[in-house]
Symmetry: C2
Amino acid sequence: MESVILASASPRRKELLEQIGISFRCHPAKGEEKADGTTPEEIVKRLAQQKAEEVASHYQEGIVLGADTIVCCEHEILGKPENRRQAAEMITRLQGRVHEVYTGVCLLHMHSGICGRELIFAEKTEVEFYPMDQEEIEHYIRSGEGDDKAGAYGIQGGCAKYIKGIRGDYYNVVGLPISRVYQSLKQMKAESHDTINCK
Amino acid sequence: MESVILASASPRRKELLEQIGISFRCHPAKGEEKADGTTPEEIVKRLAQQKAEEVASHYQEGIVLGADTIVCCEHEILGKPENRRQAAEMITRLQGRVHEVYTGVCLLHMHSGICGRELIFAEKTEVEFYPMDQEEIEHYIRSGEGDDKAGAYGIQGGCAKYIKGIRGDYYNVVGLPISRVYQSLKQMKAESHDTINCK
């Protein structure tokens, strides 16, 4: 498969691409992305696109992959917590109910420095937490695991014991919907054997 | 939490208990479990119970955890493949559709060599595969990842790129529904402060 450039510094996204055997180089976007979309889907798609476009400007060939993940609880977006007090507030809010995790993905297929094909989508996964008591919340926050994560938790670590179930792609919650990314890369590869249409 | 004895040799179950910070010792059941239940839930519950009871007979104190996982596709149970030909048949069958994974769990709380409390349940997770072509199936089989796994695949490895989504507990598919196990252990702990009722 053609060379993939991951426009993200997230160690979890790197691990996921490695897990499914995609070879890639890492070139994190540096800009401060901003999006004021009206829906969570729109927001993550725009953020993913901004990351991918920033990085794509440095490449002549290859497929640039931008991604962004947010947590949404009762119509409010929870980003990364600024401190542990805010992290505790987020977990308190998530416990005992269902929330949504959205990851936006943007794939830009570059040919001779021009984007020949663009694929953008948002994937949603619903996550249900068991109720947690104060001691459990404090213990989890102290572990520091949620410090750098949207919604202040990671489904792949110690928080797993509080997660009753999900509906959708598990890896989307970790930070990248790898099956849909893989299917999209396959599609791009198949199309590139035909004509490359300009964006 | 009271000492947990895992009646399984599965490295994945060990990793899952470690992930959620439960300290345990490992004492795999040796017997050949057999079950001829009428439903997948009944079968995995009976198999888990047989494993737990065999191991519990060696302990005076502690909570013995037995578990068994099966994959069910169109009302047929898929166990571990006997060879790679059978593994390829299983993956061919699973691709492009939804199947169910059931894990049965049996917890036996031992006091002075007697089981004071028993908790048995079966957890179901639905798993949807993307369609796979022959090359993809063969490549996955050759990786050997599915050789020792029910249904001939592991959701946590390279097969992740073919899994569109799930409904239920992800870790149940890996081999142990850790959130429900944790909640059950909590419940047992709370109850043991009250009276211990004989089975």
